[in-house]
């Protein structure tokens, strides 16, 4: 038995990925999860408008982080800010009593704001926009589409690519008269098409089963989903280039998937996280897809409101996909060299 235990430890010591999952991952998860798992929102970005704005701003509870007080702004301005996601709450003093517009797409923020205004009695009337019943599924379904695409993009794609390496056919491809670009695009295109089909099915089912409203432009949503797919497929290819077996690919994919689930803001609000943890969340592609999906589904937001997540996702797609293609191409590189030499000869 002693020999068996010793052998197992020796093997584990050389399996760095499993060691990382055993030792480092629990510590990282505990730390991040501990800070991120917080449904309580302490500070809500708020603007106050209308003739009584200054007085209301001065008396607002501490929960509301008053960013702008504009006595000249109108109700239309307030609704535009809300649709553009420039703020979570607008208190409009052009009405009597003042109206508090709350962004229902930010579920936990909206719940906190609604409760705070409720404690103020009749002083403020509350109008929850985009998700008046604060229905959890309305907020979750658009975000879940991103999670499903992430799952398909990273895990399924990396497994499919590693299979080629594991069965030795990648070597065969490397010495066939195929351009590296043909191999890469040929390998990824089916996953892109299948994931696009999945996206369509999940979106339609989400709208049909959970009655989630789709208020925005479907083509704008399709564009965002397409860019996001490039990012997650690129991550899948990157994982495959760093894995020799399908088990290794799954390990790595899970390590990439977990932070996206916890820190992208679709379960725990980013506003409720400490700055450093939220900053990690801001580096994850799912965070920006969630912004796009919830914005288009619920707020009916257009590109003028969502340009930033689109730009960030496009940047990520270019970076990740280029890195993935270069690393995958490296596996096929000797043949390219050989081809060049043969041509020169």
């Amino acid at each position: 038995m002693k020999a068996m235990i010793l052998k197992e430890f020796r093997e584990l010591r050389r399996d760095r990925r499993t060691m990382a999952m055993l030792i480092i991952l629990p510590i990282v998860l505990l730390t991040i999860f501990g800070y991120a798992a917080n449904f309580t929102v302490d500070s809500i970005p708020t603007r106050v408008i209308g003739p009584g704005a200054e007085q209301v701003a001065a008396n607002a509870p501490d929960l509301f982080d008053i960013g702008e007080v504009d006595t000249d702004a109108t109700t239309d301005d307030a609704l535009t800010w809300m649709q553009d996601n420039d703020t979570e709450v607008v208190i409009d003093t052009t009405t009597q009593p003042p109206t508090a517009y709350i962004d229902g797409a930010s579920l936990f923020t909206a719940q906190s704001a609604s409760a705070a205004f409720g404690r103020m009695g009749d002083q403020v009337q509350v109008d929850i926009l985009y998700n008046p019943d604060l229905d959890t599924s309305w907020v979750m379904v658009p975000a879940l589409i991103g999670l499903i695409l992430t799952f398909i993009g990273t895990i399924i794609t990396s497994i499919g690519l590693v299979k080629e390496r594991q069965t030795g056919t990648l070597e065969q491809l490397a010495v066939m008269p195929l351009k590296p670009a043909d191999v890469i695009v040929g390998k990824i295109a089916p996953y892109f098409l299948l994931a696009s089909f999945d996206m369509l099915v999940v979106t339609l089912l989400g709208v049909w089963i959970f009655d989630v409203p789709f208020n925005g432009n479907p083509w704008l949503f399709a564009l965002g989903a397409g860019i996001f797919l490039f990012v997650v497929l690129g991550l899948g290819v990157l994982i495959s280039t760093a894995s020799q077996t399908q088990a290794q690919a799954i390990q790595l994919a899970i390590m990439m998937l977990l932070p996206q689930i916890l820190l992208s803001g679709f379960i725990f609000p980013l506003d409720a996280m400490p700055t450093a943890i939220a900053a990690i969340g801001r580096c994850l592609p799912l965070t920006y897809f969630v912004e796009i999906a919830q914005g288009i589904f619920l707020r009916g937001a257009g590109i003028e409101a969502l340009w930033l997540p689109y730009v960030v996702l496009t940047g990520m797609a270019l970076f990740v996909f280029t890195a993935a293609v270069l690393r995958f191409r490296r596996d096929l590189a000797p043949s390219a060299h050989h081809r060049a030499k043969a041509k020169a000869a």
Partner: protein, 268 residues
């Protein structure tokens, strides 16, 4: 007629010298068998010739990838595709279609005995059938240089005969064939034999030249001799001696004895 091969080839990988100053050439219509023990460098040599490994030093002379047929150790078939689908994919990669493809496909399937298995998934084929399919894929585009990495390892004796017949046919049609093998009876049937040991060339030449190139000679004996110079073969022993054999006596009986004797002589 162009001879393909490598000259002064050295391959270092991860600080380890896999091949050191190896040269070999193969003419069209010729079969060169590469033999040697585990870690001798057979696969590295073949993969370098195929363009899958960059040489550290030396020259590789090979046709463009369009004119190379390569069968890797792991068979090189797509297991979740049927026999027909495997052929269709490789044909498309080589730009084969129409009557040319149909003619070659039929001939190869007939030669490989796979006519009745065209719809079977490659994963469901026997080891021998899978090897013959891999050979058919490597031969589909009638390559000028056919590189086969242990095509008959793990294959039953009947399938080995089939495979060898296919290899001979390819050579007779003009392909230059380089094949690694662990079966020394196959090596004896090749035009030339390259014996590798620890990444270096031990013996090189026609089978007759290899037999004659062994230093010293080998005798069959009923009792073992000096342990470092003795090995068992069947029920009897073989003993290597560094002395030349008596006049009219061969140095060794076959390639198997030649390979073992040369390895012993090198370490002696």
């Amino acid at each position: 007629m162009t001879a393909w091969g490598v000259t002064g080839l050295t391959v270092e990988r991860g600080g380890h010298v896999s091949l050191a100053d190896v040269s070999v050439s193969v003419d069209p219509g010729e079969i060169v068998a590469v033999v040697g023990g585990d870690g001798a460098g057979k696969t590295t040599l073949l993969r370098t010739l195929a363009g899958a490994i960059r040489p550290t030093e030396g020259e590789v002379s090979a046709p463009s990838l369009e004119r190379i047929g390569f069968m890797p150790t792991a068979a090189g078939v797509w297991r979740d595709l049927s026999v027909d689908e495997n052929i269709a994919f490789v044909a498309a990669a080589h730009g084969l279609s129409g009557s040319v493809l149909e003619e070659r496909r039929a001939a190869l399937l007939r030669g490989a005995g796979l006519e009745g298995a065209t719809t079977r998934l490659a994963r469901n084929l026997s080891g021998g059938m899978r090897q013959k399919l891999a050979f058919s894929l490597a031969m589909l585009h009638r390559p000028e240089l056919l590189i086969l990495d242990e095509p008959s390892t793990g294959v039953d004796p009947v399938s080995r005969v089939d495979l060898w017949r296919m290899v001979s046919l390819a050579a007779s049609q003009g392909a230059a064939v380089v094949m690694a093998t662990t079966y020394l009876d196959e090596a004896e049937r090749a035009h030339r034999v390259l014996v590798l040991n620890g990444g270096a060339v031990l013996l090189d030449g026609t089978p007759a030249e290899v037999l004659d190139g062994v230093p010293g000679h080998v005798v069959a004996a009923d009792a073992p001799g000096e342990p470092a110079r003795t090995w068992r073969r069947g029920r009897r022993y073989r003993v290597w001696s560094p002395d030349d054999p008596p006049a009219g006596v061969a140095r060794v009986a076959d390639i198997e004895d030649a390979v073992v004797a040369a390895a012993i002589a090198k370490g002696d």
